[in-house]
Symmetry: C2
Subunit: 236 residues, 2 copies
Amino acid sequence: MKKLLLISSSSTHGTSFLEHAQHAIQDHLQGVKTVTFVPFALANREAYSRLAEKAFRSFGFGMQSLHQTEDPKAMVAEAEAIFTGGGNTFRLLKTLCDYQLVDPLRQRVLAGMPYMGSSAGTNITCPTIRTTNDMPIVEPPSFTALDLIPFQINPHYLDANPDSTHQGESRATRLSEYLEENETPVLGIREGCWLKINGDGGEVAGSNGAVLFRRDQPALEMKSGDSLEQLFLSKR
Amino acid sequence: MKKLLLISSSSTHGTSFLEHAQHAIQDHLQGVKTVTFVPFALANREAYSRLAEKAFRSFGFGMQSLHQTEDPKAMVAEAEAIFTGGGNTFRLLKTLCDYQLVDPLRQRVLAGMPYMGSSAGTNITCPTIRTTNDMPIVEPPSFTALDLIPFQINPHYLDANPDSTHQGESRATRLSEYLEENETPVLGIREGCWLKINGDGGEVAGSNGAVLFRRDQPALEMKSGDSLEQLFLSKR
């Protein structure tokens, strides 16, 4: 049974790397000794894996990183659990494609290996990366992602600032433009929020909540504890 | 000789559509009777072309829109001048590709037809769309754009807000990540700013200025009247 912990952002204002989600992570990774880290969303993989390793050690887990092996496919095949860190979603997906890791990762998660991601690591679990906030700094072969859940996520979801004088699109406007072109619903998850997915269901967790956007329907506010069942039903 | 007017945003705080750039537009389009509008960055092409037509009429120009013809290639071939409006850059580029208009447009501009763009309409004149702020809501066949200038532009450029508690990347961070992966320089142009390109040169104009980002070099503030010559030299 699929088991995913999908975090909006690796930190919240004033907290250290993953600190705000520590208890959810410990719960999600119960029984796991060593977590396998996917560092590809940032350019400096070594520094990134050290940062992640420090956090996971403090939570009681060992860590190895995919950039430390000559054979990342083998490391994925043997991983007890995967954590994919945030950064640039285009770079992350392109690197996974370059290393031919998309399908191996997907198959392991479908077979029940616990997966956790934050930000870009959350984006890539969706059907596509079409709801990322990131700049398209590199060109992956396609926007198709791991497709582990039947809906899209927009991490770092941000409510419009009524005092802003900036003319760029608000996040809600961007997501409504996404829905002009696509039917798959999008859940905007605020910083502090995460989703717990178990099989074909799950719930909103953490703090600050989420907003569900669907075509031709008003935006729906969701809070910690709310079920994601309707989002799984819609694709069956 | 190429002649482009590349505007950061179609409006600034408190101004109507293109009002802030009216004099630059009238100067750029001297001698032009009817401007051809490219409305493809927004979903509602009819409403968008009405908005643009109203502004251009008040500036003293007629307007026709590419969505009003069965043969957009012929309309591009006969256009006196082109204006491409803002919206979503991925949607704009994909539509131009679907209609096979990228090369015809490019050839007309290289041959001297005046071009103006705002926001997404500015993004597509760059070598690629890799420095757009937009969400990748649709998938164009490639990120390669009209390649009319030898550098990238980031429209709606926004300085980091030191009071922000949001953990998403600042614009400067996003552009530094672009430069980790690409060597082409990027000019971030603030709302209110535009670039005037004439042949293989040009200058910063309008208000609020721009910031030049180059790999391994400190960011360089540029102001109205500053020459863009160095950006053209670097590619020769």
